[in-house]
C-alpha cells in the first residue's frame, strides 16, 4: 500500500552514508534483506526487511520521475541482477562476483545502490526512497507502469541510434570513451572471475590431498612405518594450510577488487544507458527540427511547439548529463582506488600470515629429522 505523496519538498530522514544491508535471510526460494539506517534527528535506527521486488519498485519509481527536468540525463546507480536461492548456472554467471561468498558481495552491492541514491542530489528527493528505507510495511509489490527507461522494450531499430553522430564534441568523446571502457572493464571482470573460480578449485584439490594423506597413516611399532606416518600427518597439515590460504586469497579477491570491478562495470553500463537516452533525444530533436522546417503552414505552429519542447528537454538533459559525467569520473576513480588499495592490503596481510605459517611448518619438519 503506497502512502500519499505529500506536497512538502521531500527530504531524506536518514544519513545517506550509513545505510547498511546487514543480513540476508533465506526463506524457501526468496532472499530477504535487512536494511538498517540511522535517523538524522536523534539516535534512533530504522530496521526494515525488503525483497528484490522492493528494490525494483524503488528503481522503477526513480525512472518514472517525468516531472523532473533533465531526469534522463541522470546516471542511475545500477541495481544488480536478481539473486535467487539455488540459482541456475545462467543466473550465477550473470551475477558473477556477486553470486559468491554466501551473498555477502551481493548485500554490499545493494547497500552501495541505496547509498548512491541517497547521496544523489536529484534522486534523494524522491519519496519512494524514504518509504523504502523507513516504512515498516513493504512498499508494495505491484508493478509500476512501464517506463521509457526499460531498454528491453526498445525496438531493435532504436539500437541503431547508438552510433548516431553527436553535435557536441564533449559528448562524442565521452560516448567513444565509454564504449571502449565498458568493453575493457567487462572483459577484465570476467577474466578476474575465472581466476577466482580456479583458485577455489585449487583450494578444494588441496583439501582432497590433505584428506588422502590422512588415510596413509599406518599402524604399528615399526619405526619406518611410524616415521612415514608422521611425515604424512605433517604434510596433511601443510596442505590444509594451503587450502585455507587459497580460500583466503580467493575471498580477498572477491570482496575487494572483484566487487570493485563489478561495480565499475555496472556503472559504465549505467553511463552508457544515459548517453544512449540523450542520443535518442538528439535524434528526436533533429527529427522535430526537420519536421518544423518542412511543415506546411497549417501544421507549422504545432511543429514549432514540438520542436521547442524537444529543444528545452534536450538542453535540460545535456545540462544534467554534463554534471553527472563530471561527478561520475570523480566517483569511479575513488571507487577503483578504494578497491585496489583494499585488495592489496588484504592480500599483503594474508601473504604475510601464510609466510609465517609455512615457515613454522618447515622448521617443525626439519626438526622431525
Amino acid at each position: 500500500m503506497m502512502e500519499e505523496v505529500k506536497e512538502v519538498t521531500p527530504t531524506l530522514s536518514v544519513h545517506a552514508d550509513n545505510i547498511k544491508v546487514t543480513e540476508v535471510l533465506k526463506e524457501g526460494d526468496t532472499l530477504t534483506f535487512i536494511i538498517v539506517s540511522q535517523k538524522l534527528s536523534g539516535t534512533g535506527e530504522y530496521h526494515v526487511d525488503r525483497t528484490y521486488d522492493d528494490f525494483e519498485w524503488l528503481q522503477q519509481h526513480l525512472f518514472s520521475q517525468e516531472d523532473v527536468p533533465g531526469i534522463q540525463g541522470v546516471i542511475f546507480p545500477p541495481l544488480p541482477a536478481k539473486a535467487q536461492v539455488n540459482a541456475s548456472a545462467k543466473v550465477m554467471k550473470q551475477l558473477g562476483f556477486l553470486g559468491l561468498e554466501e551473498w555477502q558481495p551481493y548485500c554490499k552491492a545493494l547497500e552501495n545502490f541505496l547509498q548512491q541514491i541517497a547521496a544523489h542530489s536529484i534522486l534523494c528527493k524522491n519519496k519512494a526512497l524514504e518509504i523504502f528505507l523507513t516504512s515498516s510495511d513493504p512498499p508494495g509489490r505491484q508493478r509500476v507502469r512501464k517506463n521509457i527507461f526499460n531498454r528491453l522494450s526498445q525496438a531493435v531499430v532504436e539500437m541503431r541510434k547508438e552510433s548516431h553522430k553527436d553535435v557536441d564534441e564533449f559528448f562524442q568523446t565521452e560516448r567513444d570513451h565509454n564504449l571502449v571502457l565498458t568493453g575493457c572493464t567487462k572483459t577484465a571482470t570476467e577474466r578476474f572471475l575465472d581466476v577466482v573460480l580456479t583458485e577455489q578449485k585449487i583450494a578444494v584439490a588441496c583439501g582432497h590431498f590433505s584428506a588422502a594423506l590422512q588415510l596413509c597413516v599406518e599402524q604399528g611399532e615399526d619405526p619406518d612405518k611410524q616415521a612415514f606416518s608422521k611425515a604424512c600427518v605433517k604434510l596433511s597439515e601443510v596442505f590444509n594450510s594451503m587450502m585455507k590460504n587459497m580460500t583466503s586469497v580467493a575471498e580477498n579477491n572477491v570482496n575487494t577488487l572483484g566487487v570493485g570491478l563489478d561495480l565499475e562495470s555496472r556503472y559504465q553500463e549505467a553511463e552508457k544507458e544515459m548517453l544512449f537516452r540523450r542520443t535518442c533525444k538528439l535524434v528526436e530533436l533533429e527529427t522535430a527540427r526537420r519536421n518544423a522546417e518542412k511543415a506546411k503552414p497549417v501544421k507549422k505552429a504545432a511543429m514549432e511547439e514540438v520542436k521547442k519542447a524537444a529543444e528545452t528537454e534536450f538542453d535540460h538533459i545535456c545540462g544534467v548529463a554534463k554534471q553527472e559525467i563530471a561527478q561520475f569520473h570523480g566517483l569511479r576513480v575513488k571507487m577503483l582506488q578504494q578497491a585496489l588499495v583494499q585488495w592489496c592490503e588484504k592480500q599483503l596481510l594474508t601473504a604475510k600470515e601464510k609466510a609465517d605459517q609455512f615457515d613454522q611448518h618447515l622448521q617443525a619438519f626439519r626438526g622431525m629429522a
Binding site: 575493457c184 590431498f209 596413509c216
Partner: protein, 481 residues
C-alpha cells in the same frame, strides 16, 4: 658345479621344521645396524663359487652372473685364518652399504637432438661425481640415449629380480611425446616432455646406484663410465609396462598353482598386504596431485589472461594515476602468474613424479614377492617329483630290471640335489627380500621427507616473493586520486 647359474652360493640348509616354508621370523633377520653380522648364521663352504667373488679385488667380470656378497660369515663360529681375513673385505662392503659413506651424485643434462626425422633421438649427458674408490676418476661423463637406459634396466632385471632384489623400474616410454620431438616440434609441450624425461632418467640412475648391490654391477659401471655402449635391442622387454605384464602373468601362474603356498611366515603375509595397501593409497595420492597440478596450470593461464585485460584497461584509462596503477596491476599479475607456474612445477616434479615413481617401484616389489612364490613352487614341484621317483624305484625293486633300477637311482640322486637347491634358493630369496624390503622402507621415508622439505622451502619462497610484489604495488594503489 651348480646347474642353476643364477642361484646363490650352496649354503648348508638350515634346520627348518616341516610345516614352515621359511626360516623362523624372530631369529635371523633383525636389521640391526650395529651388528653387521646379525644375519650371518651360516658358514661359507670353501668350495662355493662365492669364494672366488670374495677373493677378487674389484668388481667381477661381466660374464659371470653376480652372486651378491651378503654377509654370511659369523665371527663367532669362525676360526679359520683364511676366512678371518675375509672379514675386512666384508666390513668394507658393509660400511659402504651402510649409507653414510655413499658419496655419489649423478646428473642427466644437456638433452640434444641427434639425427633427423623418425630416426632422430635425444642424447643425454650423464655426469657422475663421486669420491668412491669404485671408480677411476671422481668426475666423468658419457652420452646416452633413452634406449640405453632401458637396456641397462633390462639387464639388471634379468639378473636380480628373480632372486629377490628390488630393481628400480626404468622410466616410461612415450610414443606421442617422442614423436613430437622427432618431428621437430619445438613448442612448450615437447620441451616439457624432454624435461620430464630428463628428470625421470636422473632419478632412475640415482635410485639404481643407491642400491649397494646394483652399484657394483659391471653393467651399471659400464653404463656410467664407458664412452661407447653397444646399442640395446629389444628394449620392449622390461619397461615398467612390461614389468607389470610380467607381474600379472606371475600372479596368474600363482593362482593356477595346484598346491597353495602355506604362508606360515607371517612377516611375508603382512608385508604383502602392506604393499597392496600402500599401492592403493599412493595411486589415490597421485591422482589427487595430478588434479592439483592441472588446476594450477589453469590458474596460470587465467592469471595471464587477466593481466592482459588489466593492461588494456590501463591503456584505455584517461585518469593518469589510475592508468598507471592499472598498468602496474597488470605487471604484478604477470609476476604472480610466473609464481603459479613455478608452484605448478614444484607440485609436479616433487610430488606427482615421486608418487608415480613409488607406484612403479611397488610394482617391482610385488614382482619379487611373486618370484619368491615361484621359487617355492619350483621347490615343491621338485619334491613331488622326487617322491614319485622314489615310489617308482620302490616298485622297480621287485622287478628284474637292473638297468632301469640304476637309472631310477641316478635320477633320484639328481632330484635330491635339485630339492636341496630349491630349498636353498627359497631361503636365499626370502632372506634377500627381507633385507631389500627393510632398505626400501627406509629409503621411502628418506625420499618423502626430503621432497616434503624441498616443497615447503618452495612454498616459503613463493610467499616471500608474493609479499614483495604486494609491498611494491601498495604505494601505487594509494597514489591514485
Amino acid at each position: 658345479l651348480l646347474t642353476d647359474k643364477s642361484g646363490p652360493a650352496s649354503l648348508p640348509a638350515e634346520d627348518i621344521s616341516a610345516n614352515s616354508n621359511g626360516p623362523k621370523q624372530d631369529s635371523l633377520f633383525d636389521d640391526d645396524p650395529e651388528d653387521l653380522f646379525a644375519e650371518a648364521t651360516e658358514e661359507v663352504s670353501l668350495d662355493s663359487p662365492e669364494r672366488e667373488v670374495l677373493l677378487s679385488d674389484g668388481p667381477s667380470p661381466a660374464i659371470t652372473p653376480i652372486t651378491p656378497p651378503t654377509s654370511v660369515i659369523t665371527p663367532k663360529t669362525c676360526s679359520d685364518p683364511f676366512l678371518l681375513t675375509l672379514y675386512s673385505c666384508f666390513l668394507k662392503i658393509e660400511e659402504e652399504e651402510g649409507g653414510d659413506s655413499f658419496d655419489m651424485h649423478i646428473s642427466v643434462s644437456d638433452p640434444e637432438k641427434v639425427g633427423d626425422g623418425m630416426n632422430a633421438y635425444m642424447a643425454y649427458k650423464v655426469t657422475t661425481k663421486t669420491s668412491m674408490s669404485l671408480f677411476k676418476t671422481d668426475e666423468f661423463s658419457v652420452k646416452r640415449r633413452f634406449s640405453d637406459f632401458l637396456g641397462l634396466h633390462s639387464k639388471l632385471a634379468s639378473k636380480y629380480l628373480h632372486i629377490g632384489y628390488i630393481v628400480p623400474p626404468a622410466p616410461e616410454k612415450s610414443i606421442v611425446g617422442m614423436t613430437k620431438v622427432k618431428v621437430g616440434k619445438e613448442d612448450q609441450s615437447s620441451n616439457e616432455f624432454v624435461e620430464k624425461r630428463r628428470s625421470a632418467l636422473e632419478r632412475y640412475l640415482m635410485r639404481t646406484v643407491k642400491h649397494p648391490i646394483l652399484l657394483k654391477d659391471p653393467d651399471v659401471l659400464q653404463f656410467l663410465e664407458s664412452s661407447e655402449l653397444p646399442r640395446a635391442v629389444s628394449t620392449q622387454a622390461l619397461s615398467s609396462a612390461g614389468l607389470l605384464r610380467m607381474v600379472n602373468k606371475a600372479a596368474d601362474a600363482v593362482n593356477k598353482m595346484t598346491i597353495k603356498m602355506n604362508e606360515s611366515d607371517a612377516w611375508f603375509e603382512e608385508k604383502q598386504q602392506h604393499f597392496e595397501n600402500l599401492d592403493v593409497q599412493l595411486r589415490k595420492l597421485h591422482a589427487s596431485v595430478e588434479s592439483l597440478v592441472c588446476h594450477r596450470k589453469e590458474l596460470s593461464v587465467n592469471t595471464a589472461q587477466f593481466a592482459k585485460s588489466a593492461a588494456m584497461l590501463g591503456n584505455s584509462e584517461d585518469h593518469t594515476a589510475l592508468s598507471r596503477a592499472l598498468s602496474q596491476l597488470a605487471e604484478v599479475e604477470e609476476k604472480i602468474d610466473q609464481l603459479h607456474q613455478d608452484q605448478a612445477n614444484a607440485d609436479f616434479y616433487l610430488f606427482s613424479e615421486l608418487l608415480g615413481d613409488y607406484v612403479r617401484l611397488i610394482t617391482a616389489v610385488k614382482g619379487v614377492f611373486d618370484h619368491r612364490m615361484k621359487t617355492w613352487q619350483k621347490w615343491q614341484d621338485s619334491q613331488l617329483l622326487l617322491q614319485k621317483k622314489r615310489e617308482a624305484e620302490a616298485k622297480l625293486q621287485f622287478t628284474n630290471k637292473p638297468d632301469k633300477l640304476q637309472q631310477a637311482k641316478d635320477e633320484i640322486k639328481e632330484l635330491e640335489g635339485k630339492v636341496q637347491q630349491g630349498e636353498r634358493d627359497f631361503e636365499q630369496i626370502s632372506k634377500t627380500i627381507r633385507k631389500e624390503v627393510s632398505r626400501f622402507e627406509k629409503e621411502r621415508v628418506k625420499d618423502f621427507k626430503m621432497i616434503i622439505i624441498k616443497y615447503l622451502e618452495s612454498l616459503v619462497q613463493t610467499q616471500q616473493q608474493l609479499i614483495k610484489y604486494w609491498d611494491a604495488f601498495l604505494p601505487e594503489a594509494k597514489a591514485i586520486s
